[in-house]
Amino acid sequence: MKILAVDDEPIFLQLLQATLTDLGYTDLTRVTSGKEALDLIQSSPDSFDCFLLDIKMPGMNGIELCHAIRALPEFRRTPIMMNTVLNDRAAIDDAFAAGATDYLTKPINRAEIKARLGMVATLVAERKRRDSSVANGAATSEHHGRGYSFPFELLEVSGSVEFLALENYLLTLGKIRSLGIAATGIHVANGEEIFAMGGPDGFADTVIDIGDCIADTLKRSNYMLAYAGNSNFVYLTGRLSTPNMLDFSLELNAKIAEFETLYTELGIDLPQLVVGAPALGNLLSPPGPKQILGRAMKNAAREVEKHADLLAA
């Protein structure tokens, strides 16, 4: 895995390189400024599989660099891990909003960096395999051959992040700070039928349409949205600013209904979107702040069961 590390402290870069080499990641390029990094990335678009960015740097800071990398089409999906001393809520929020996949705080913790980079390496390997299938004609698109359960990014959908980033965001905030967050699940009740009718590509297009509708409905709130696979969407809002479930559901379904003519022409059923009650963090709940994502999706599934007769009609 080809990694680019950006940090204005050369001593830290040396330490990082020693640690990564020790973990088997030997292909590391080091630069000490955001500008240098961006010049390097732009001059060689196939050059890096993963970025490790410091945040506080003179000139272009790590958040700005993260934004700039994400704006390059070749790197829209490349994992970006922030690696910084800063652990305040604003820095974490800004990093994930800018497109960071993960967030590590200094000092270097060998076990932590091993686990988090291991996850990134798996992701990179999967994407390379898929890109190569598309390139050699074995697959017609990046969604080709993907199962119904597969989570994917809602590229171009405002406020969206990949599901892994949403999980990492909650892990970074930790249990106490996650108490201020509400997670809401949305389930596409007829998702399996749409997948069967449209195939992976048609289903992916529908998921993007739904993502756009959710983003549009949430436009007055601060939120982070992800698609978790299996027809499940989850979005995070502030605990006190989460929209009313019923109002949100009505507005969302009205927006998707605007696609009815198009879907009819395509021979695909209109998605039935069911919104669950928001899941809130609780000090007594099971360990791991990302548990609220699972609970949010369960709440949506419960609503589907509750209204099964209505949905079938």
């Binding site: 001593i11 040396q14 910084t84």
Partner: protein, 115 residues
């Protein structure tokens, strides 16, 4: 981890520690100079920003190479200066903040004595 890998890591770590010591010496002198300038009434904001940058860089490395207390105090100094920087009463804040900066310098010097 093989013994060869361990020794390679040790070699890098020893070199990094030595470099860190040199940097620390430079930063101690630089921070003292900036503090004196602020005491004399020179504009505080750019000097505090420079101190914040040095504290930030120290925080990133210190704990990783074993100077946990120094790393922690450096982080606090960095965060504190960030808050002062946004306030309008730098002069008042400087009076209360200066002793904390002196503690930071003491901790940096202690770290020089350790290795």
């Amino acid at each position: 981890m093989t013994s060869e890998q361990v020794s390679q890591l040790d070699v890098v770590l020893a070199a990094v520690k030595e470099q860190f010591q040199h940097t620390l010496t430079y930063r101690i002198l630089e921070i003292e100079k900036l503090m004196i300038e602020i005491d004399k009434g020179e504009p505080a904001a750019p000097r505090l920003a420079a101190i914040s940058d040095m504290a930030h860089k120290t925080a990133g490395v210190a704990s990783t190479i074993g100077h946990v207390k120094l790393g922690s105090i450096a982080s606090k100094i960095d965060a504190k200066i960030g808050r002062i920087g946004t306030g309008n009463n730098t002069a008042v804040d400087w009076a209360t903040f200066r002793p904390k900066l002196s503690d930071f310098l003491d901790k940096m010097e202690e770290s020089l004595d350790v290795d």
